[in-house]
Amino acid sequence: MLKGFKRLFAFPAALGLVHSSLAEEQGAERWGVNMRQGVTEVAQSTYDLHMLIFWICVAIGVLVFGVMFYSMWRHRKSRGYKAAQFHESTIVELVWTIIPTLILIGMAVPATKTLYDIYDTEEADIDIMVTGYQWKWKYDYLGSDVSFFSNLSTPRTQIDNRQPKSEHYLLEVDEPLVIPVNKKVRFLLTANDVIHSWWVPELAVKKDAIPGFINEAWARVDEPGIYRGQCAELCGKDHGFMPIVVKAVPEAEYNAWLSERAEAAAKMKALTEKTFTFDELFARGEQVYNRTCAACHQPNGQGVPGAFPAIAGSKIATGPLEGHLNIVIYGSKVNPAMQAFGQQLSEVDLAAVITYQRNAFGNDMGDTVQPVDILNFKNQQ
């Protein structure tokens, strides 16, 4: 308890240190008080709209509060002020109904215009399917084989305060979404389980990802850069831990990246054929486990009693291989929290993580699972 208090007070100082070393990224400054202007035309007009409405509100506020404070200062009984008894005036009532209505119409015009811009359905240059999962994003570049998951990459140790927090704490991912600048990129959004919401402030895109249905949004980014966002709709336990990172790059760089990714996908296929040693599998499995499984089953494999079963000593992880493969690949029939990872992880990663689970945390099963075993299991089923 005492130790906790000490940390509580020591923290602001530590935070200052972390901050001073920040290479400032666009907009993400400390003590930020306003919406970021963004890097798309729509984001800019949204920002302008926001500021317009804000200043109108400030003007009305100054007027209303001005009158109020004036009378609170002048019209006090303690100053001997005698109360007037006037009340009811149709003209005054009409004035303060009509003028606000006119102001509102003045606000509605630019708002409607911006909304029409956002709903533009002109053909896009690139279509990317964005799928929300508990608790990560999947990006499919339509028309190519490139498809990957994007997970939070902030290590657990930073979240648990066992390590200083890095610059982009909670706003960093293993695989960012890469898009070219000056191209209209259309996002098709859906979700695999519950409702998520894909939000990148600098792109002024926030759209719900709803299981079973698709939504669309688009952005044409003006400047290269890294833009960070987060899931905006409560989607369960790790809602706060599924960030979005968008990397906007020049077109040539984008094309190079895309073909490189397509090649890597082909290579991954080849890896599937390879036979790995136990150590290789175990080491890779540990990484996969910490990225994918540890959020629920915990880094020490102990799970969370009542919510997420332990891997250590689990009947499945120390039982027949078939059952273990089945639950990891196809998910649990009884507990929807245990998802089907068969499509989410590559064969190599599945083999590695299952090998890891069967041999870590004191589960000394001694067996290894090869990628080809996974493939066979999937196909024979």
């Binding site: 940390r7 949204t46 209303v64 509605a108 648990d160």
Partner: protein, 516 residues
């Protein structure tokens, strides 16, 4: 008729007296306010600094959910019903509520509802963790088993509210003293009459939406499940069809209280009584056609976005009429600033700020940036805390001398006010900033650039919490004794409640008063 209260526990269990029931509602809601407040403090303590310190994300989500549910259904709504019970019969010259036995039931089922809701915290899988808006499918297919108990407790709360609303309507329409025409009723009575109709219209919709959840979870229907031909977005439409009128249920009676208090301390009649009545009615009407502004990012055809944007912006007009009326009532009055007036004035200022952020949120394209961020959290806390909570507090200070016959301690009241006022602004004003800077709501941990303002918010929250202890102490002291209050208490206040002695006798207006 002439007998006084029974003694002991039975008095409270079997009472049909509107004053007893009103007191029980008020004490119950204060207890819930403290409970929900403690949950808010857990949330703020966790958010004091980045990283996970005090609670884990599962429990954090249970706290946000329970905080919202308890504050909305346990603190604000019962407090207004309590004030209605105490004041409406006395304001319209009625001997009691129209349906006194139903009145007893509608109170006594509440503790059971909340005991059931609270017990989910100790169930396997934990309490509901899907936010007070409980969007499907997070609240159906992916919900903890305790959700069934949550649904039943919502049913009971709904039944209680509907019974309370029926009682209030029947009292107002049937029990007014001769000469008390509708357009002579105090504004608190008017706003409550409209609120009661809203309650009857939308509480069954809430009951309906949780019933559909129940059937989806246990009986294989697919109202909200796409696999069976349903649609999770339908949930949001039904929920907000209830939810938007619900937020006005929590603010209309507040308008009534403030419209009662400001004229008293400005020593000047309310500027536009009838326009206040019409403004309240138009706000109530508009509340039924704006619900989808909570869902601008869900994906709607542009016509839908435009309709809901325009309709929502329109609400600014009657709300503006109200604010202008209060300010004009103060203008050239002879004001004094006793505790109820301080809270009422703070209400006008801070509610207006909440109104401004509401207007900003109404602008659909800008809402795409604000939606589900701390900007929204700041907005609704600015309308609910200074709106509902401050007006209830103002009402309690205003009428406490009439209820107890004793004056509260003015100094302590002022200390309470300033602590609460500073605490509230420290807590919620920085939330505008972090929201605009990009912090989503309902997250247990956040990026480093939000750290400073979150720390300020957390400090403010504890200050606001401390202020409530002063309030409790002051009220308890006043109930126990203190300087005797006069029958009029204040300087020439308007209303029948000031024509009866202080403390108000157990039975008032057994014979109807003459209304001028």
């Amino acid at each position: 008729m002439a007998h006084g209260p029974q003694s002991g526990f039975k008095r409270w269990l079997f009472t049909t007296n509107h004053k007893d029931i009103g007191s029980m509602y008020l004490w119950f809601s204060f207890a819930m306010f403290l409970l929900g407040g403690c949950m808010a403090l857990v949330i703020r303590a966790e958010l004091f600094e980045p990283g996970l310190q005090i609670v884990q994300p599962e429990f954090f989500n249970q706290m946000t959910t329970m905080h919202g549910l308890i504050m909305v259904f346990g603190a604000v709504m019962p407090a207004f019903v309590g004030l209605a019970n105490w004041m409406i019969p006395m304001m319209i010259g009625a001997p009691d509520m129209a349906l006194p036995r139903m009145n007893n039931w509608s109170f006594w089922i509440l503790p059971f509802a909340f005991a059931m809701l609270f017990s989910t915290l100790f169930m396997e899988g934990g309490a509901p963790n899907f936010g007070w808006t409980f969007y499907a499918p997070l609240s159906t297919e992916y919900a903890p088993p305790s959700t069934t108990f949550f649904i039943f407790s919502i049913h009971i709360m709904g039944a209680s509210s509907i019974m309370g609303a029926i009682n209030i309507i029947a009292t107002i329409l049937n029990m007014r003293a001769p000469g008390m025409t509708l357009m002579k009723m105090p504004l608190f009575v008017w706003t409550w009459l409209i609120t009661a109709y809203l309650l009857i219209a939308v509480m069954p919709v809430l009951a309906g939406v949780v019933t559909m959840m129940l059937m989806d979870i246990h009986f294989g229907t697919s109202f909200f499940n796409a696999a069976g031909g349903g649609d999770p977005v339908l949930f949001q439409h039904v929920f907000w069809f209830f939810g938007h009128p619900e937020v006005y249920i929590m603010i209309l009676p507040a308008f009534g209280i403030v419209s009662t208090i400001i004229p008293t301390f400005a020593r000047k009649p309310l500027f536009g009584y009838s326009s206040m009545v019409y403004a309240t009615a138009s706000i109530a009407f508009l509340s039924f056609i704006v619900w989808a502004h909570h869902m601008f990012t869900v994906g709607m055809p542009i016509a839908g976005e435009l309709f809901f944007m325009y309709a929502t912006m329109l609400i600014a007009v009657p709300t503006g009429v109200k604010v202008f009326n209060w300010v004009t009532t103060m203008f050239r009055g002879a004001m004094t600033f006793e505790t109820p007036m301080l809270f009422a004035v703070a209400f006008v200022i801070l509610f207006t700020i909440g109104g401004f952020s509401g207007l900003m949120l109404a602008i659909a394209p800008a809402d795409f940036q604000y939606h589900d961020t701390y900007f929204v959290v700041a907005h609704f806390h600015y309308v609910l805390v200074p709106g509902a909570i401050f007006s209830i507090t103002a009402g309690v200070y205003y009428w406490l001398p009439k209820w107890t016959g004793n004056m509260y301690n003015e100094t302590m009241g002022k200390v309470h006010f300033w602590l609460a006022f500073i605490g509230l602004n420290l807590t919620f004003f920085p939330m505008h900033f972090v929201g605009l800077a990009g912090m989503p709501r309902r997250i247990p941990d956040y990026a480093l650039q939000f750290a400073d303002f979150n720390q300020i918010s957390s400090i403010g929250a504890f200050l606001f919490g401390a202020a409530q202890i002063v309030f409790l102490f002051n009220v308890v002291r006043t109930v126990m004794g203190g300087k005797k209050a006069t029958d009029e208490v204040w300087d020439n206040p308007q209303g029948l409640e000031w024509t009866v002695p202080s403390p108000a006798p157990y039975h008032t207006f057994s014979t109807p008063p003459a209304v001028r």
